[in-house]
Symmetry: C2
Subunit: 406 residues, 2 copies
DNA sequence: CGAGTTTGTTCTTTGCCAGAACATTCGCGC
DNA sequence: GCGCGAATGTTCTGGCAAAGAACAAACTCG
C-alpha cells in the first residue's frame, strides 16, 4: 500500500500503459533471455500480437535485438530476443583515498578493460588525469561501440539529483561538484553515487540471470569506514538529507573509543580496516592518529588477511575481534530493517571462512526470532570490483527502472 | 528509481490510466476539499471534460459527493466536491495488556463513540465481549450509516496478508488468528496491524488537510516496550520477517541491564514506561520482575508524569533520565534512516516540554550533520488515541492507495 | 441587457489494448 | 511429396479512454 504524493505525482496519459508494458517486457527479456515472443505473451498474459507490437518498438529503440531461431519440439521455430547490452558501454570510475580505478564495462557490468592510478589530491588535476585515461581506454577498447555514460562512485554523501558530493571525508571533499567538470571534460553524461549505495545498486540491477533479486537487503562495506546501502521495497533508502544508512556510527557501547564523528563506541571504531589494523599492531585505535600510524608501519589490511589465512595467531585474533563487533552491528540492521539478506563487501571477506562462524554466533545471540537469526549474510569479494559494477549500474539501471507514475 | 519485480508484476491494461487518474483525483479532492472540477483540471493538467468524466465515476461509486456551489469573483459559480467519509464508518479496536479500547469513527478517523473494558485473557471470551460491545455501539450510534470495516491493533508482530498475530508478548499470543474469529462474530471485514505501524499509518493517511504529509518518517511508541513504525518512500517497512522497526532492542551499551529479549542495554530497558517507573521507585530495572513490582506499588506512568508536571523532583529526574536515553535511541534512527521527522507517542509526551530540550541535546551531540541534528521530533499525545486512529486508517487507507502496477 | 469570464458538459479525434483471423514454418505420417 | 496439426509470429478490426475543441450554463460588471 503506497501513498500517492499529490505534490509531485505523474498522471497517467494515453501512453502510460505502453510505457509500463514496455518496461515489464524489457525486464522479462533481461531475466529470461533468450526468450521468444510467444513465451513473453504467456508470461505477461497478453496476446502475441501485442508482443510483436511492443518488441518492434524496443528493437527500433535499440534496447532489444533478435537472435537466431532455435529448435522446438513441434511447430514454427521461435525467434529469440535479447537485451542489447554488449555493444553499449559504460565507464565506471571509483575514486578512493589512495587509488582511483577506471573500468570499461558493457551494460551488464561485464568488464572490458581496467585501469588504476594513485588518486591525485588536486581536483582539477584529477579530472585531467581521468579525461586522459578514459579517452585512451575508449580509443583502445571501444571500437565501434558507443559509451553511453559514466558512473562515478565516491566514498561519501551525494546529493540526489544534482550529483553534488556533500561530504567525502576520506577525499576531503565538501560540497564539491565533480559531475560538471567530468562531464565537460569528456562530453559523456555522468552519474555520481555514494559507494555503498552503488554496491547495493549493482546487486539489485546486475544480479545473475534467473537468480531471485532481493527487494529488501543491506550492502555493508567494510573499508576505512563502515558504510551501508539500504534497499527497501525495491528502492534505495536515501532519507531526507541523503544521509541514511550510516550504520557505521551507530554506537555499540556508550563508553567506547572516540570516533571521528565525535561519538563513542561507534561500530566503525571496532570494525573498520583501520581499527582491525591497529588491533593487529597492538595499538589502541584513535581515529585521528590511525592513518598516520598505518602509513608509517606499512602494513595493509590485505596483508593481515593473508597472514590470518596462513594461520598467524595475531592476525586471526585481530580479525575475530572485528567479526565479533561486526556481528553485533549486523544484528542492529536485522532488528531495525529485517532484510532478506545482508551482503558484506571489503578486503576482510577474503577470510570469510574464519569470520562467518563468529559473525553468525554473535547475530544468533542478539536475534529476536529464529527467522531473524537465520538472515543470510553473504560475502562479496573485492576481486569482483563491486564499486565499479555499481558505477556500471548507475548508467544502465535507469533503462530498466519502473516508470514513475502516480 | 524502482525495480520491477518480474515475479509479481501487474501489467498495464486499457483501464490502467483510468485507475491511476481516478486515484490521483480522489487524493487531490481529499487534500484540498472543497475543490471544484476546474481547479482539479488545473492541478492535474488535464481538460475539464476529463475531470467531469472521472468525477462522474467516483460519485457513482460513492467515493465523492457534490456539495453546494460557492461564490467566485466572476464567471460561473464552481460546484464543490468532497470525499464521502462522514457516513462511512469504521470500528477501531485497540487490544492492550490491561485495557481494550473500541472506537467508532468515520473514514477520516473522527471519533463518534468510544468504549473500553478490561482486557480478557481468554481469547474466546474476548471475542464474545468485542462482539457484544461492537454490536451495541453500532446499534446506538451508527444510525443509517454503514460500517465498512474493523481495524484491529495489537501490540505485536503481525503477518502481512493473513493478519495472523505472530508474536505479541504482552498478550501472550503466539501465532494467533484473531482476524478469523472477529470476522466470523461480526460479519465485517477485519484488518489487523501492529500498533506502531498503525500509528504511522494514521499519520500518513489521516493527516491534517493541507499539511505536508511526510513520506519518510518514524513513529516511535513509548509504552511498556518501545516500538517503531518506519515509513520509507511512502511505504511502510515490514522487512522479510515482519519484524522491521525493532529499535526497542537496539543496544545503547553492551553491558547494560538484561532485557527480556536476552540482550543487554537495549533502548527499551532504559526508556520504556516500566523502566521509567522502576527508576522513579528507586529500583533497578529487571524485565522479569518489573511488572509484578509495579502492580504491587500501584504507581502508574501517568501519575509519574503528572507529578513531574507538578514539579516533584524524583519524577522529573526519572523522566530526564528516560529522555536522555530516548535521545540516544532517536539518534540511531536518524543516522540509519535520515527521516524527515520522528513522531513520539506515549504517556510521557504529556511532559514534552520537560523532555524536549534533553532529547534535542542528546540528538545534537550524536548527529553527523547539522541538518540531521535538526530533524523535527514531534510529540503525539495519548489523548489523540493514535492507535485507534491507526485502526481507522487500516480500513480507509486502501481506498486512497496508489494502484499496484508494474 | 449584452459583453466578458469562468465553470461544466458534450462531442470528435487519436492512440493503444484486445482478440480474432491469418500467414508462416516446423514435425509427422501416409 | 503432400496434407495435417501445432506452434510462432503478423495483421486487422473493434472498443475504450485520453485529448482537446466546441458548446452550454451561470455569474459579474458596466
Amino acid at each position: 500500500m503506497r501513498k500517492i504524493n499529490t505534490r509531485s505525482f505523474v498522471r497517467a496519459t494515453r501512453w502510460t500503459p505502453r510505457e509500463i508494458n514496455l518496461q515489464i517486457l524489457l525486464n522479462l527479456v533481461r531475466e529470461h533471455e533468450p526468450i521468444s515472443r510467444a513465451e513473453l505473451a504467456r508470461r505477461m498474459k497478453i496476446g502475441r500480437g501485442m508482443v510483436t507490437y511492443l518488441t518492434a518498438e524496443l528493437i527500433a529503440q535499440g534496447a532489444l535485438y533478435e537472435g537466431d531461431t532455435v529448435d522446438s519440439p513441434r511447430g514454427r521455430r521461435p525467434q529469440m530476443l535479447y537485451v542489447r547490452t554488449q555493444d553499449r558501454l559504460v565507464v565506471a570510475i571509483d575514486i578512493r583515498f589512495s587509488s582511483t580505478f577506471v573500468m570499461l564495462t558493457d551494460f551488464s557490468g561485464n568488464s572490458i578493460a581496467l585501469d588504476s592510478f594513485d588518486t591525485i589530491p588536486d581536483r582539477e588535476a584529477l579530472v585531467r588525469e581521468l579525461q586522459a585515461r578514459v579517452r585512451r581506454m575508449l580509443a583502445e577498447h571501444a571500437g565501434a561501440r558507443h559509451c553511453e555514460g559514466i558512473g562515478l562512485v565516491v566514498p561519501g554523501m551525494v546529493e540526489q539529483g544534482t550529483g553534488r558530493v556533500l561530504n567525502a571525508p576520506q577525499l576531503g571533499w565538501r560540497n564539491v561538484d565533480i559531475r560538471g567538470p567530468v562531464e565537460a571534460a569528456l562530453g559523456i553524461p555522468v552519474h555520481v553515487e555514494n559507494a555503498p549505495i552503488a554496491c547495493a545498486l549493482a546487486r539489485m540491477w546486475l544480479g545473475q540471470r534467473g537468480a531471485a533479486v532481493p527487494t529488501d537487503f543491506v550492502y555493508v562495506t567494510v573499508s576505512d569506514g563502515i558504510g551501508a546501502g539500504v534497499v527497501v521495497n525495491g528502492q534505495v533508502v536515501r532519507g531526507q538529507t541523503n544521509s541514511a544508512g550510516e550504520f557505521g556510527h551507530v554506537p555499540l557501547t556508550a563508553d567506547g573509543p572516540t570516533c571521528l564523528c565525535g561519538g563513542h563506541g561507534c561500530l566503525e571504531v571496532y570494525t573498520s580496516n583501520l581499527a582491525t589494523l591497529c588491533r593487529y599492531l597492538g595499538q589502541d585505535f584513535s581515529p585521528s592518529t590511525a592513518r598516520a600510524l598505518l602509513t608509517s608501519s606499512g602494513v595493509t589490511i590485505a596483508e593481515v588477511v593473508s597472514r590470518a589465512l596462513a594461520g598467524e595467531r595475531r592476525a586471526t585474533d585481530a580479525l575475530q575481534e572485528t567479526a565479533r563487533h561486526l556481528g553485533a552491528g549486523l544484528a542492529v540492521m536485522i532488528k531495525t530493517l529485517s532484510p532478506s539478506q545482508i551482503i558484506v563487501g571489503g578486503e576482510i571477506t577474503e577470510a570469510w571462512e574464519q569470520l562467518a562462524p563468529t559473525i553468525r554466533r554473535e547475530i544468533g545471540e542478539r536475534s529476536l526470532t529464529d527467522l531473524a537469526a537465520e538472515t543470510p549474510i553473504v560475502p562479496e569479494l573485492a576481486s569482483a570490483y563491486p564499486r565499479l559494477r555499481g558505477g556500471a549500474a548507475l548508467v544502465s539501471a535507469p533503462l530498466f527502472a519502473a516508470p514513475r507514475i502516480a
